[in-house]
């Protein structure tokens, strides 16, 4: 075997090895990006879904088909805290006030998902609780009075004096490649319910 053939052989093996390592890296990178991109898309979709539901529901605080069924809308919010709110509204438009409660579950509740920070968001309507895991890691509400002042929490006894709210929501992937969780953030500042005698 000539030296040139040997040189060719060694060189080919070397370059082949480099190609193999490059391909493996490319494969790893492609997998990571597939996870990451689809995760980001899911996060953004989940955020939009959560916000749509919350905004629709919160705007109807104090609303009833029969306006005399909730005679004093200033008393429509029954309880308010940073991660929880209970209020009166007419969910099914049957002219009967319903009690709706939104609250965040503990992080320890979702041990089945790799993300240690995701929590369940619960909606309770007249005692019937329904929870959903959309990867919410932050659900925080601040409340403001008529003069824009931030109110101390919790507000337990109606009328709570709440004029407007600021809702912060952060959503992350429930699972991610190498624990690289993507997130999306929404801050709805001062969502004023139209039914709280704001004008």
């Amino acid at each position: 075997m000539g030296i040139a053939v040997l040189f060719d052989l060694v060189g080919s093996v070397l370059i082949g090895g480099i190609l193999l390592i490059t391909l493996m890296n490319l494969n790893d990178s492609a997998t990571r990006n597939t996870y990451s991109f689809s995760g980001e898309l899911i996060v953004q979709e989940n955020l939009v879904t959560s916000v749509e539901v919350l905004e629709y529901d919160f705007r109807k605080i104090g609303y009833c088909e029969d306006p005399f069924a909730i005679p004093n809308t200033k008393r429509a919010i029954l309880f308010a805290d940073s991660t929880e709110i209970t209020y009166l509204t007419d969910v099914d438009f049957d002219a009967t006030p319903d009690t709706v409660r939104y609250f965040l579950g503990p992080a320890s509740e979702l041990t089945g998902t790799p993300n240690p920070n995701d929590r369940m968001l619960y909606q309770e309507i007249n005692g019937n609780v329904a929870g959903v895991n959309l990867g919410i890691t932050l659900f925080k509400i601040k409340y403001f009075g008529a003069l824009g002042e931030e109110l101390s929490l919790p507000r337990m006894y109606p009328p709570t004096g709440i004029f407007s709210m600021q809702i912060d929501i952060r959503i992350e992937n429930t699972s991610a490649y190498d624990e690289d969780y993507r997130y999306a953030f929404w801050r709805q500042i001062r969502l004023a319910s139209r039914n709280l005698e704001n004008r």
Binding site: S12, I15, L19, L23, V48, A184, R187, R190, L191, A192
Partner: protein, 162 residues
Amino acid sequence: MLLALGAAILLSITILITNKNILTTEDVLYDSNFEITATSIGTSLIEDASKKKFDEVTDTMAIEKTLPLTAPELLGTEPGEDPTNRLEFDDFDDYNGYTFTDSTMPTAIFDYKCKVEYVDETDPNTAISKKSFHKKLTVKVWSKSMKDTVMQSTIYSYWYFR
């Protein structure tokens, strides 16, 4: 060995193209993420403005004609109100010319600017230079991290019932 070198070049080109595609996708995803937050800022500003009274003069009295309303060229904060402090705004048109830089968002730093003008009910997309019972607020939100500017607008009409 030449064949192996050729394969390496071919693979390098493929990797470069793949890499470019990945970065483009990443860019689009980040941009849409920022735009979601920018949308939340825009809707928040509109919410905030919509709960204020229509005009300075409608605070204490009801009007039936447009004459007492603020003149189009004077839309904005009144003397004594700080144009940089939104907490001091007491009517819808105080938002005219309001600009702010919001660095409290976890995603990026956002700038926004508001513009309020009178519009006619028959053509709400065109500003008019006379008083009317309809004011249009346009909010522009942008960021150095974003490619484009998010623009949202709302029309606030004066109403009064006895």
